[in-house]
């Protein structure tokens, strides 16, 4: 009997490719449906979500099944697409499918008020984007990889610039496109080095290529630069806080939750699969970069007042944590500590999966707020919990998860990562033993600051009094949106409550990359990496005890005392003129962090004159790196292009002389 499940188990790669084709067809079909808004949002997006579910199923199957390959005769002659599905690809496909399903279901409701014409285009780019990401994960040669990488980059560029009539959005899109392409060039060079002079760009050849440590390092650094640009590693992060707020919310959710992970995938693929030597200092370098990114990201997240920009900075932080885990994995792996490498790699993969769910959830949550109020600036929001309870409570799950609070999922991956730090001792290089405690302290600081950021995010948007009377008319999100958010929130809860099972699922991926797996010494309830004597965490028991105490307390208070409640005005502390403007603004809530970490920022402040009749306050904490690094580079590039521009006079004589001189030069050069 062939059920869909056995079909997937028989030919997972064909199903995955089938879904890619299905998405492409769906995208182009959307163009034909330009007349019917209803069909577009109510049919195309739900079908796309079904495709995502298929990809997730392929991911689940692919993690258990042996690797399978496929050659597609498309593209240039003699240069077919090689596809391969192994456990690593499968894991990231599961991540993509799981998060994209919720986000796409959400999108089917979110875009209901968009005009049909732009929506048809958006649906095309959206599904092309999804298809591009899947083929990036499946590609088994540099050609297929780069083509799909470009499809992914370009389609997401068009998605970012959906509202292209606004100049800031065009600017954000351009910045994104620029950095994506600088990164892509670096990747191209990395593949050039990786093929090791064979002239054959399949990954199989690269796996066999013998590299000297020097060339391996060159390839690694190029790949780190290229993937770092996509992931948002400091100092290549500048596009994230611009592009994420510019894009429509479901697109931001996909970009932040899923697309950034393709860069993590690429880094893992190149380092542990394609390169056959790994060198210890790569690990130290990436650990340092990752920690810097994490801290930098979270500090800037704390001072933002645009809710989507805040989330974008928080994505930078999470990528930093992931890259730090990557660095640790490399350090342990090259030092022969396989068990520890397996632990940190598990933490890395777990955090990547978690981030896809909670960041997706938070971004679509901001989408609902944006839909209901039309405001992105947190200083004009507030009190939405009373008008949009669904959005608020589901977003709260995401906020608690990303703040790393038990028993949700963010805590599990941070717990695993922190475990790795102090199970570390006796590394070959003594300096590393000194680095580890400092690194642990930095991660702990970043995680604690993330809680600050999330209290600010949730508190300022959803709690308190509405800062604008118009907010009282805010409407709750529709059912497709709620379902999408519910899916993502349930994912956060389940990933938090069943870590032992998730780690079991992850073990084929971990074994593939570092040759060992994380042994869970506990039972199905309990997570105990390495040994139960060393560390253990049982989220289900934890959760059950909290719920039990909670219920007992409620019952006891009601039984023994009473449940009487009287409503009244809030206490005004003797100042009867209290209004919503007296609550902390977004800037106010971030002010202590700004004051402590002002060295990293360029603070622009415009305080009103005391005698001003219409006082306006403006404050912005800008990224200093932009001014230190990017502005000079832009200036030099501008100067260079100006110099090159001198060659152009628009006169035909000059151009003829140029070609003549080139000809002479080449003749002299080649005949010598």
């Amino acid at each position: 009997m062939t059920t869909p499940l056995t079909l997937i188990a028989d030919a997972p790669l064909d199903i995955a490719w089938g879904v890619v084709l299905f998405w492409l067809a769906l995208g182009f079909a959307a163009l034909l449906l330009q007349g019917s808004q209803h069909l577009l949002s109510r049919l195309v997006f739900p079908l796309g979500a079904l495709g995502a579910l298929g990809i997730a199923a392929v991911g689940v199957a692919g993690m258990i099944l042996p690797a399978s390959t496929m050659v597609l005769p498309i593209g240039l002659p003699d240069l077919p697409f090689h596809l391969r599905l192994d456990a690593l690809s499968a894991f990231f496909m599961l991540l993509l499918g799981g998060a994209a399903f919720g986000i796409t279901v959400y999108a089917s409701g979110y875009f209901r008020s968009m005009a049909a014409g732009p929506l048809a285009l958006l649906a095309l780019w959206y599904h092309l984007f999804l298809a591009g990401m899947v083929t990036v994960l499946l590609a088994d040669d540099a050609y297929a990889f780069m083509v799909s990488w470009e499809v992914m980059a370009l389609s997401s560029y068009f998605l970012v610039t959906t509202d292209h009539k606004i100049p800031e959005i065009r600017r954000a899109g351009f910045l994104y496109l620029l950095i994506a392409h600088v990164g892509a060039v670096s990747l191209l060079l990395a593949f050039g080095v990786l093929q090791g002079g064979h002239g054959d760009y399949t990954f199989d050849t690269m796996r066999l290529a013998e590299m000297t440590p020097f060339w391996a390092s060159v390839a690694f650094l190029l790949a780190l630069f290229g993937f770092g640009a996509k992931a948002g590693l400091v100092p290549l992060h500048v596009w994230l806080p611009e592009a994420h707020p510019a894009a429509p919310s479901p697109v931001s959710a996909l970009m932040s939750g899923v697309m950034l992970k393709t860069a993590v995938y690429g880094l893992l693929r190149v380092t542990f699969d394609l390169l056959n030597i790994q060198i210890g200092w790569w690990g130290t370098l990436t650990l340092a970069l990752g920690l810097m990114t994490a801290l930098y990201g979270v500090i800037f997240a704390a001072v933002q007042s645009d809710m989507k920009r805040l989330l974008a900075w928080s994505s930078i932080e999470n990528i930093g944590v992931i890259i730090a885990a990557f660095g640790l994995t490399l350090i342990f792996y090259t030092d022969g500590k396989g068990a520890l490498a397996a632990l940190t790699l598990t933490a890395l993969l777990y955090h990547a999966l978690n981030h896809a769910f909670f960041k997706g959830l938070l971004f679509v949550g901001t989408g609902s707020v944006l839909h209901a109020t039309g405001v992105r600036h947190m200083g004009h929001l507030g009190g939405l919990m009373r008008f949009m309870p669904w959005t608020a409570w589901l977003t709260l799950v995401g906020a608690l998860a990303i703040a790393g609070l038990p028993p949700l999922n963010g805590f599990v991956s941070e717990w695993l990562l922190l475990q790795a730090f102090f199970l570390t001792f006796g590394l070959t290089y003594p300096y590393l033993n000194m680095v580890i405690p400092v690194a642990a302290a930095t991660v702990a600081l970043a995680v604690a600051l993330a809680a600050y950021v999330m209290v600010k995010f949730f508190g300022v948007i959803f709690l308190g009094q509405p800062r604008d009377p118009a907010l009282r008319e805010a409407h709750e999100a529709g059912w497709p949106e709620r379902l999408g958010m519910l899916w993502l929130a349930v994912g956060c809860v389940l990933l938090g409550l069943f870590p032992a099972q998730v780690i079991d699922w992850l073990s084929p991926v971990v074994r593939l990359l570092v040759g060992q797996t994380l042994v869970n010494d506990g039972n199905w309830l309990m997570l105990a990496p390495v040994s139960a004597k060393r560390a253990s965490y049982a989220p289900l028991i934890f959760f059950a005890v909290v719920v039990a105490v909670l219920l007992l307390t409620v019952l006891w208070v009601r039984r023994v005392y009473h449940g009487r409640v009287r409503r009244s005005d809030p206490w005004d502390c003797g100042y009867p003129e209290q209004d919503a403007r007296m609550q902390d603004s977004a800037e106010g809530f971030g002010q202590p962090i700004r004051q402590i970490f002002e060295v990293f920022m360029r603070v622009e402040r415009e305080t009103p004159d005391p005698f001003d009749r219409k006082p306006r306050y403006h404050g912005a904490s800008l990224d200093k790196l932009w001014f230190i690094l990017y502005v000079p580079i832009a200036r030099v590039t501008g100067w260079l292009s100006q110099q090159a521009g001198r060659l152009q006079h628009g006169r035909i004589q000059w151009y003829l002389i140029y070609s003549f001189a080139t000809l002479i030069f080449l003749l002299v050069f080649t005949t010598r």
Binding site: A448, G459, A532, T553, V557, C573
Partner: protein, 314 residues
């Protein structure tokens, strides 16, 4: 196993019931040291009883989160009190959460309190929430580092194993633990809203942190929060004792040692409470923006402790 669960329940209940007593003791000591006539040691219980009997007054615009938070905070603190070994070690709950998860529980309670404080939208609530998060973002990693130092010595993050290792070691001096102990004291002062970081008796808007957050609470909700505060003080004291003065805690299954362990615990808590109130009396509250410096020092000390462990003790 069933005996273990009984012991666990007994210890948790004991902690929940006795926590206000410790608060009363600290208040009494402080009153003596300041030359005031002291309230009876049972005063916290009377306050709780009074509060439970009152009608809850809640602002018109309070959301369900506001009413839910006190129960959540109380539940978190009760769980924390159940995990930390006070009289007996290696209880059945303890594998459910190690020290990192313990920090997570404290963080969960804190985040709910901060969110509840922001719920009403009075100017004091958000102010308190912001200050609380400011204090905690430095205190939390510092606390983790203190735990790490202890974990590095015992090669485990399980509290029972840490306590066992530290209690049964041959007498050796760990310089790293000395650093960790100082850091831990500084963190507990900050986390429990005591002088010099916060003052539990003030309602002055320039200085208050914790009190600003619970300003809107009344009656049973306030009672639960006050009780949770007492439990937190108790848990922190028990933690400090377990990490730095662990002698006397009964090992697993050692029922005969329990009475002695109880006596030792009471004596240590009395002493700890007296020391706390003494330090509170002789120090002045620092300005709000000096608080990060205070906690930054604690953080540095804790990290130094870890580094020293790697330098000298491995």
């Amino acid at each position: 196993m069933s005996a273990g669960i009984l012991l666990q329940l007994a210890q948790s209940l004991l902690a929940i019931l006795l926590a206000p007593l410790l608060m009363g003791w600290v208040n009494q000591c402080r009153a003596w040291l300041q030359g005031r006539s002291a309230p009876p040691i049972t005063q916290p219980y009377r306050t709780l009883r009074k509060l439970f009997h009152k009608d809850a007054v809640i602002a018109h615009n309070a959301s369900p989160l506001f009413r839910f938070a006190p129960y959540m905070i109380f539940a978190c603190m009760a769980l924390a009190a159940g995990i930390v070994p006070t009289i007996a070690n290696d209880l059945p709950f303890s594998p459910a959460a190690d020290v990192i998860a313990l920090v997570g529980i404290f963080a969960l309670a804190r985040v709910f309190l901060a969110l509840a404080a922001m719920d009403i939208g009075s100017s004091f609530g958000t102010l308190g929430a912001r200050r609380e998060m400011l204090v905690s973002f430095l205190a939390e990693p510092a606390l983790l580092m203190v735990f790490f130092t202890a974990s590095l010595i015992s090669q485990s993050t399980e509290l029972p194993i840490i306590v066992q290792t530290l209690a049964h070691r041959e007498f050796a001096i760990y310089p790293s633990l000395a650093f960790a102990a100082v850091a831990f004291w500084m963190i507990s002062v900050a986390e429990n809203a005591r002088i010099p970081v916060d003052n539990p008796t003030t309602h002055l808007e320039l200085t208050m942190i914790h009190e600003a957050m619970i300003l809107e609470y009344s009656a049973r909700h306030l009672a639960l929060i006050e009780w949770a505060v007492a439990l937190k003080l108790f848990t922190y004291s028990a933690l400090g004792i377990a990490l730095f003065l662990p002698w006397g805690i009964a090992a697993q299954g050692d029922v005969a040692a329990l009475p002695l362990a109880l006596l030792a615990m009471v004596a240590k808590l009395l002493l700890g409470g007296a020391v706390l109130s003494f330090i509170e009396t002789i120090s002045a509250k620092v300005r709000l923006f000096r608080a990060p410096e205070f906690l930054g020092t604690a953080f540095m000390l804790a990290v130094l402790g870890m580094l020293i462990h790697f330098l000298l003790e491995v």
